[in-house]
Symmetry: D2
Subunit: 360 residues, 4 copies
């Protein structure tokens, strides 16, 4: 197990989906940031179930309690403990999966690794764990905002339905204007339709979240291993259901020649160094160059489907299994705040680490 | 700077492309592995320049010296120091790039971050640094081999030319049968042709390396953050010129429905748990499930091209700049041993970390 | 701030003395250990205030709540969250120290470092934080017990009153037989008398805790930096009020010649390798040698005294200040479970790390 | 094995006493420090054998080679590789210790831990490894000097001969005025005499090194675990032959009452906050308070003595063994630059870490 993320701005999450709750300790947040509980709650409200007919109808209030680290409305430099108590944790019957290995879930691998597991609702492997990340991201967001850095993510693709233009041509303020969290309204409507159809077929569908970071100063990222994009990629790949990460030109860039792909530098009217294209996605040699950072994250379709599937139990015997209860037909809309949070956490850490680059 | 990788099997690399040399310290390699210098040299020989007409004609012997950690042919548990001395380090003239910011290189970002840089041949940001990783990977390979784990990578795409079948239908023993390191001979020939054409046009081309790991026991990977695929992704994204990473179904998996994507379990004739498909790429919940691990890594076209390009100098003034010397028109063939090395390093680390999962 | 301790068996503590409570997350505890809440509570009961007339009469129940990581009475390999809610947190008036810098406390240094602090009862710098360590130590204790390792600490000195014999001549089962936690009953009585006299004079007194670890296998410790005694020393020095650490012959060993100090090896009747003396304190070259580990920890007198003292406020103005409320005249009796806990945590971590020493 | 030290200013050492050499990689040194090879060589010259008749007559030139990280006389922010090649590494016969376990050495524990060891001259457990630390310390010293921090260590005790006054009454510029490195000339002479007598008796003698750090700003140290004194203690305890560490009042402080021990604050004529006494040793709550830091380090007598001693071989059979060759009768004079180096490394790391305390 490794439940910590970050070097200087470091979080440690804990908790299972059906234990007492989900929590996080943030160690290394600088003193002097104004943080309200309401800021954290607002971030959690973006992630919680039951926001629209596109997500699971489960009702979870996800009320955060601050256990430590804030005093008189400010961070004090001490560790910030946050806890979100689970509700109705004991009310469900999970006996049908106690001995079953659900396809494309972590039941089998947890049993192999640890010899036992909390089988209720996925336990530690449940995406509910990401609530802790979102709560921590809300604190990290305060640090980024203090330095003028803005993080935005949006749904760029659901199944085969994709936003037809790049992020530069979108109005990112529209992300929250629809339940899909896609700032291209017509596409959002088609995505919503696909999600509803998929839900009605008792199936699930995947897609892509795009991330954009603006206002990043040049100089963030710690090569050769902790390159900014390597940390972003690792952060995204640590989110449940993520299967791929690309930044800048990404996989598509493999089809370009060097003469097409290179981002040529120029100096703009304000005397600011800029590049004419941004295939680099704002990162060169693993270090931010001051241009917008952008990347894309692939999410597989949710593994829990209500249709019966063939699988085995922990004795190796073949059984049939169907999901029960209320699940998301598409994780993308609720993935947006999680991508935001992880992006924010990476940048907060890199911002603090960059302070050690050179002597004053 | 962060030049260490791994938690228990941990490497620290150092060195610049035109300083005295490139080195690595491996800390945490278990005692008792038989390692010969020739093993390390053989790995370096796969990466070194000048192997064929598809790579840079630069001649570098890349002779490794063992500085510590081996005694009487075995690892002793102490740190293993390896050093590859640069040759002719002082013989070239780099004055044309001393003050220039090469497009899509790290010159500008290093200057912004550190206030100064070793401008000779890219200095620390040169891909020459990966020689150290390849040397370390050769040691990690001994650990994996001891436990029956086999790592293979190959060139799956160059520009738009791609291998038309999945890895299961390839004979991976053919990887070294051609200078492209593509185990599909006809495609390899077409790739070679594209690389030669590109070189003759003074341009460069990118592509995709596929990685396959066989013989992995179930149970490797440390969720929730150090998921096996997250560490693999981070490792790949730390390689120069990499723009994307996907595992299992990857970005393509976003087009499938859950009912198509889920890997159903069964028990084979030997009583072994297996899955009928492997969209999971051998990893579920961030932990290996015993099936083959596979992933794909996108490399952009090499940034150094011999054509003149517009850029700026460190005073912000626009200049024209053309690459000089001998460079790779396509990095893919030489990237294969680097992908192998990083994969090997991740698995060696995870193998050691998994020893702490449960009480005996 | 750095609130994590350990590499594989890793704890992160959080919480302030007068905030909502004190907590800890244990990350890396292996799966399969039987742990009851009562085990953790029993450890906390040894540390809590109000146990005898020798400690502070403050009443704190220190009830632990398990937030995660235990399922059906066993560890699951997931992070174990523990929380001890503070009582009456808002009931006291701390305005007299809001702007005062108490002598030999951390008020001034926290203000200098962070620019602000939670001034209520010391906030994060309060020894109340060690409750979290004791709770975590109770879990680590289960791991050590599984492997037959026994940790004991006792009060060896209070002021100038010291136990006249070495640990080998003591019956360590008597540690809990008196409120001082000194297994030499006559000395314990004299220590108790000194503590009562000191309390009545509104003063405080320091002393020494001795630690003994028995049943340790040879091979624990990770040189060259994480030597077993270096980690023990660091652990002890991280406890509030600790001013020194020595192991084996310690400072006294500087008075011996090499011919007197060396521990000669022999093989006992059971064929076990042993040493005739144990000036090494069970550790050679930073690695346990199978003999008993022993060490000593110096605690200064508690800084909070009820007598008025000269000091300054945060404007630099001289003021007079006297402690208020109920404080320990001597921290030693309550320090014993904290030394036990930190010893246990170090050994649990080293036990897991040693699994990576050599190939099977 | 754990051969790295430090979080942001991080060193990794490698090498055995009779392998090719001893080296270190410094990762995280900020760019922009002027460093000459001669600076590093001068530090090594203080540590090397053969400086006077008080130390081993072995001649080792200990010439350092810079492998990376310096360019045009400045640090570049990239890892600094340093290597000190061993001389005559193959010329000696170590067959007498190949199978013997020398008393109070690490032969037995290395064999137990790793199953094999480089037995030539102690291999990795040799104090020769500290040459790498001294080299790294010379670089860290540049960072400290840039910020006005001064580190001094001196021999305070040899056997029972001790400096009769505190560091405040000494002229620390006299440390290098005699081969003992004791700034109290009369005591130095008596120490030298004791060392010569001990050498002539084929015995060895231990002692105490005192460390002093001046010019430290308030605010260094990262509680609750990485307290400044805990990191100093860990650093000292990682040095070969160290048995104890105390800071400020140390073990002696256990004899004082709180009313005697507390350091009362006042504001001096310059408006600077100061304490009237410094029992805190410049550190309160684990954070520097701006007063002088001071501490003491206990070194045992060197384990290698030329007299025959009883011990066992690796078959458990009793044998007699006498040291051969040229060894130090007293390690204290040569320990001073090592204590300096480790102190310097701790402070450099803490200086960089403190940059993340608060928002600008």
């Amino acid at each position: 197990m490794s439940n910590s993320f970050g070097t200087l701005f470091r979080i440690t999450t804990f908790g299972e989906s059906h234990g007492p709750g989900i929590g996080v300790v943030i160690d290394g947040c600088p003193a002097g940031l104004a943080v309200e509980v309401a800021d954290i709650q607002a971030a959690l409200d973006r992630r919680r179930p039951g926001q629209s007919d596109l997500t699971t109808p489960r009702k979870e209030a996800d009320q955060v309690e601050v256990l430590s680290g804030l005093f008189q409305g400010y961070t004090t430099g001490t560790p910030i403990g946050l806890f979100i108590r689970n509700q109705d944790q004991a009310s469900h019957d999970y006996s049908h999966i106690e001995h079953a290995y659900r396809p494309s879930h972590a039941d089998y691998t947890y049993d192999q690794k640890y010899g036992r597991r909390d089988y209720r609702g996925g336990g530690r492997s449940s995406a509910r764990e990401t609530a802790a990340r979102v709560a921590a991201g809300a604190v990290a967001h305060k640090l980024l905002a203090h330095y003028g850095i803005r993080v935005s993510s949006y749904v760029a693709q659901v199944g085969a339905v994709q936003v037809p233009v790049g992020y530069q041509e979108l109005d990112l303020s529209l992300i929250e204007s629809n339940p899909v969290r896609c700032p291209h309204p017509e596409t959002a409507e088609r995505m919503a339709e696909l999600i509803r159809q998929t839900r009605d077929r008792q199936d699930t569908v995947g897609g892509i979240v795009a991330g954009v970071v603006q206002g990043v100063p040049a100089g963030l990222g710690e090569p050769v291993f902790d390159r900014l994009h390597a940390e972003l990629g690792r952060a995204m790949l640590s989110i449940n259901a993520v299967k791929g990460f690309e930044y800048g030109s990404g996989f598509g860039g493999t089809l370009l020649f060097g003469s097409e792909h290179n981002d040529t530098f120029y100096t703009d009217e304000q005397g600011q160094v800029r590049t004419r294209t941004n295939h680099s996605g704002g990162i060169q040699g693993g270090i931010s160059n001051g241009q917008d950072i952008y990347f894309r994250v692939a999410f597989k379709p949710v593994a829990t489907i209500l249709q019966p599937q063939a699988t085995i139990n922990d004795q190796g015997e073949e059984i049939m299994l169907a999901g029960r209860g209320r699940h998301d037909p598409c994780v993308l809309p609720r993935a947006v705040p999680i991508v935001d949070a992880m992006t924010t956490l990476v940048l907060a850490d890199m911002l603090l680490r960059a302070r050690a680059n050179k002597v004053d």
